[in-house]
């Protein structure tokens, strides 16, 4: 349920400022850019009153390579491998988002088998992204190594699947406008079924390892609370939004691809704190397993490419399209304007991590310095996508 936004007074759509207690001096600290918990090169200029945070300004762009302009100088096909490098943890989701936008732009239909393959790969991506993101969160909390390695062990199996299908572990470059690049074999599907069957056991193990851990609960419960009204207004999407209790999953809302055929639930959080986000990712991971089981059972035989779409010399008619998918980190949108030539006139990525960072300061105000690292970890940012 979304609580109606009522408070319309000054500063209603941000967290109220924290007033320092007046004792002692304020301290300004630059956390990062080279800080192990910032998941890349990312800086937070923090103003502290003792241990309490009274101001926090994220500073980024260290990885900026003007991805969007790069896209405007090259052909529609040539952008595809670059989308892998946005959120390098989930390249297949990025491929899908971009392919979806261009398919909307040019009115291309995708064959059934390719749709199933896309769902399978996107959900596998979600599982490995969520597994490693909770692993990193625990790592940031100070549990060095062990939980992260447990998560990576599972991730590795999925990456092996990606490698044997697409040729690359992380930079998959797999989807094309109107389908997918290569077809799977029966062995690959069997291998995938085996891996998927093992994931619930991993989730059980991971939960036994951590969810009732007192230290974890003490550190994360009540930390970094995000109000649902602020979350909606600030355009937060993905697990971060659902942990605040807002039921909004683009797989259910837009039903892009063939998501209307699968039976799955959207887990919701209650408190909107770091612990909810941690738990929500584990629950979503189990729902992804449900989708995968259905998809791997139902996948039909058939072509994987629309015969009308072509690889070279792709020139959509003038127009524009915005396509969005539910990437593991939130709403990943691609906005493409075509002027009828081989390059897009405007190519825009709406990165979920970038928009989700908007409320980093709001969540951190009044918290301790040590919690900043946790809160940042719970947003699950990837700097390749934030900086583009």
């Amino acid at each position: 349920m979304i609580t109606p936004i009522l408070a319309r007074q000054e500063g209603w759509n941000r967290q109220p400022e924290i007033v320092p207690d007046g004792e002692g001096e304020l301290l300004e600290v630059a956390m990062g850019p080279h800080h192990p918990s910032t998941h890349g090169v990312f800086r937070m200029d923090v103003t502290l009153d003792g241990e309490r945070i009274i101001k926090l300004k994220p500073v980024f762009g260290y990885l900026h390579r003007n991805h969007e302009q790069l896209g405007e100088t090259m052909s529609y096909l040539a952008i595809m491998p670059y989308t892998d490098r946005l959120d390098y943890f989930s390249s297949l989701s990025n491929n899908w988002g971009y392919a979806l936008a261009v398919e909307k732009l040019a009115g291309i239909q995708v064959p059934e088998r390719a749709e199933y393959l896309r769902v399978i790969l996107a959900e596998l991506t979600r599982i490995q992204n969520h597994a490693s993101s909770v692993g990193f969160l625990i790592q940031d909390m100070g549990a060095s190594g062990t939980p992260l390695m447990y998560a990576f062990k599972e991730r590795e199996k999925i990456l092996d699947l990606f490698e044997s299908l697409t040729g690359s572990r992380m930079m998959c470059n797999y989807m094309r406008f109107g389908g997918c690049r290569v077809d799977t074999t029966a062995e690959w599907l069997n291998q995938a079924r085996k891996v998927v069957a093992g994931i619930p056991a991993f989730a059980d193990e991971f939960e036994a390892l951590l969810t009732t851990n007192e230290i974890l609960m003490a550190r994360t419960q009540g930390t970094g609370i995000l109000r649902p009204d602020l979350a909606v207004n600030a355009g937060i999407t993905g697990p971060l939004l659902r942990a605040s209790g807002v039921n909004y999953d683009i797989r259910k809302v837009d039903r892009y691809g063939i998501y209307d055929r699968f039976d799955f639930k959207v887990p919701l959080g209650e408190h909107g704190d770091v612990y909810d986000r941690f738990m929500l990712r584990l629950l979503e991971l189990r729902q992804s397993v449900r989708i995968l089981e259905q998809a791997l059972k139902d996948i039909p035989e058939g072509p994987i490419m629309d015969p009308k779409s072509k690889i070279r010399g792709f020139r959509p008619k003038p127009g524009e399209a915005y396509g969005r998918i539910e990437a593991p980190k939130g709403e990943l949108g691609f906005y493409v304007i075509s002027d009828g030539t081989g390059n897009p006139y405007r190519y825009r990525v709406r990165p979920p991590s970038f928009v989700n960072l908007t409320i980093l300061e709001d969540m951190c105000l009044g918290q301790n310095v040590a919690d900043v690292v946790l809160i940042l970890g719970s947003i699950d940012i990837v700097l390749g996508e934030v900086d583009r």
Binding site: G61, V232, G333, V355
Partner: protein, 225 residues
């Protein structure tokens, strides 16, 4: 969800003098958009968010687009009075003459907003705002007071396109560093000559590489002399 015509009618009923215009999208996506006026944009945005039926509470995507000055060459038929000698007598005769005219359609910077509703689960509604020109009148009203999600995205557009959002609480560069002068996403942006060129340079880049190397060689010779 209401159709775009109905939304337009609703806006015009709620905000007098809104002057909303529908921009058609010819592509199969059929995502048409509404062009707002700069003066009334904030009121329209407020209405779209607060109206119980529309309830666009979620601003998903904010994009800048740069449209350069366009030179349009068109052929027009013009009536002209021409002096002619008809049957040996000079006369004033009206004649239609073909004439090619060139006119320059001024370019502008555009901001595109994609709105969805989380409460009603509909969308997208696409809004557009255009600046008066590309050089000095580049102000647009900021939507950050209405939708917080515009905060970083408008900063990004300010950084990369140079649109100035009035009413934005913290308008600074976000991806480029402080002190950077230009706006790199503009179509007429010229990259600085500070590359380390690769051995497989192509066409335009190869030409630039040659120029660069000539410059470096000249500088070295100058330094030696």
């Amino acid at each position: 969800m209401k159709t775009i015509e109905e939304i337009k009618a609703a806006i015009e009923a709620a905000v007098p003098g809104a002057g909303v215009e529908i921009i058609n999208n010819p592509s199969p996506s059929a995502q048409h958009s509404l062009l707002l006026q700069r003066e009334t944009a904030l009121a329209v945005a407020q209405f779209l968010r607060d109206d119980a039926e529309l309830a666009f509470d979620y601003l998903s995507n904010v994009t800048g687009v740069d449209w350069l000055d366009k030179e349009i060459v068109e052929k027009v038929k013009v009536k002209k009075t021409v002096t002619k000698t008809v049957d040996g007598v000079e006369q004033q005769v009206e004649e239609t003459v073909d004439e090619t005219r060139k006119r320059v359609e001024p370019g502008y910077l555009e901001t595109v907003y994609h709105l969805y509703s989380m409460a009603k689960k509909h969308g997208p509604l696409i809004l557009r705002l255009r600046t008066a020109n590309r050089t000095d009148q580049v102000e647009l009203p900021s939507f950050t007071p209405i939708w917080r999600s515009a905060e970083f995205q408008e900063r990004e557009i300010f950084d990369l396109y140079g649109i100035v959002y009035t009413g934005h609480p913290d308008l600074r560069r976000i991806l480029m560093w402080e002190g950077f002068k230009d706006h790199p996403m503009r179509k007429d942006y010229v990259e600085p000559d500070d590359f380390e060129y690769e051995p497989t340079a192509h066409d335009a880049v190869a030409k630039r590489a040659q120029e660069h190397q000539a410059k470096v060689a000249a500088a070295q010779n100058g330094g030696a002399a």
